[in-house]
């Protein structure tokens, strides 16, 4: 074999060696990458918890609201903005509780008195005990398409308020509250050992 032939063989061997090293390097890299990928993880997170902030008591007072009928209500309120291509819609569900009863701060000075062997009770008229009856923080966002402002939400609140008032503050409910008040007062007086009593209502 001549000198050129020997050189060719040496070069071919070198090539094979280089290729082998390259292949091994690639395999090691791929293996290493796979191993790292297996033990690694990545995720995007958005924290949806609120921050810790203080709760402040703005007022405290002694009250005497005697509730005889409790009306829990839910109202579905929606609003639509007509658009060129599509209509935007906002639907929310509001929750509220209307309390019907008597305010003990409105009773007359001698609203309960003894007359002979009987007890006479004169109760003030049944009324809505608290005008703030919607628990707005419980509101459920049901449908929202398009963009809406806080003023739109405020307006929905007022509509839900009016709806609840119409639905719950009815003559029938006031009558039921009145009947229950008479029943409950009678029960209490009996529990205190009073058999003879008369309950009347102030107009």
């Amino acid at each position: 074999m001549d000198k050129t032939g020997k050189n060719k063989i040496t070069l071919t061997k070198l090539n094979i060696m280089l290729w082998a090293v390259a292949v091994i390097a690639v395999v090691v890299l791929v293996f290493g990458f796979c191993h790292t990928a297996k033990t690694s993880s990545a995720r995007l997170e958005v924290d949806d918890r609120i921050d810790v902030t203080p709760t402040i008591i703005t007022s405290m007072k002694q009250i005497g609201e005697w509730e005889f009928l409790s009306v829990n209500d839910e109202e579905l309120v929606d609003t639509i903005k007509r658009g060129f291509l599509r209509d935007d819609k906002l639907v929310r569900i509001y929750y509220g509780k209307l309390s019907l009863g008597i305010n003990m701060h409105d009773v007359s000075p001698r609203w309960i008195r003894q007359q002979g062997d009987s007890v006479l009770v004169a109760l003030p008229k049944i009324e809505l005990l608290d005008k703030d009856f919607i628990d707005e923080a419980r509101t459920k966002a049901f449908i929202e398409t398009g963009s809406w402002t806080d003023a739109d939400r405020d307006s929905l609140y007022h509509r839900a308020y009016a709806k609840m008032l119409t639905r719950c503050l009815t003559e029938e409910n006031i009558k039921t509250a009145r009947e229950n008040a008479s029943l409950q007062f009678g029960k209490m007086l009996k529990a205190l050992g009073i058999e003879k009593f008369a309950i009347s209502w102030q107009e």
């Binding site: 690694s40 993880s41 990545a42 995720r43 995007l44 997170e45 958005v46 924290d47 949806d48 609120i50 921050d51 203080p54 709760t55 402040i56 008591i57 703005t58 405290m60 002694q62 009250i63 005497g64 609201e65 005697w66 509730e67 005889f68 009928l69 009306v71 829990n72 209500d73 839910e74 579905l76 929310r92 569900i93 929750y95 509220g96 001698r110 609203w111 309960i112 003894q114 007890v119 005990l129 703030d132 009856f133 919607i134 628990d135 707005e136 923080a137 419980r138 459920k140 966002a141 929202e144 963009s147 809406w148 806080d150 939400r153 405020d154 229950n180 529990a191 205190l192 050992g193 009073i194």
Partner: protein
Amino acid sequence: MMNRLYFNFLIVFAALAVAGCSRKQTPRQQPESVDTIPMLVMQVQKCSRLYTAEYKMHKIITHDDEIRMKGKFLNQDYDVALPMGSRKIAIPIDATVKAYIDLSSFSEKNVRRVGDKIDVTLPDPRIEMTSSRINHGEIRKYVALTRQNFSDKEMAGYEQQGRQAIINDIPQTGIMEMAKESAARVMVPFFVGMGFNEKDITISFRKDFSDNEIKKMIVTASDAERK
């Protein structure tokens, strides 16, 4: 040779297309209809609750959300805030919390009479958040250009968390003591009117309550719905 290859390819493609088109039309299953509007309920309940104490509470709910990338690389935990812009919101909320005595279960068992004296043990007070109001005019938001505005659902979620945070703070407010004192103030004239002397009337409660016990006395929305 190439032409033949193209010809074969076309045949295979056409066959696949025909197969795709002539796929037997299975009757499309009608999606089961689901009522997505939650049942709206008006629940009327007869009761006899004497509300004796009222607290007005205020809270500013704040939320600062930034997108963070969290994970593990080379066995090392990492947590990096991505520079995609942040969003901030502050929602002022006012709530009314009231304490009441449930007198519907009041009976002769609650009354003890010895001569002219009367000793009345009232049922344990209960606490309830009766209303809450979001001050929409005072809501402040910051939304980076790269982020979407806060959705109604997200805001409602923060408000519900804020509501729960107020409820969790109730035991520290001292409303229970005021409720008891006020109940006595309302009930004493009742017994005086019935002919008892004020000095002969004793209004008491079963016991003093710890913060944990007070927590259990808070009537939540789900309790009210269950009733």
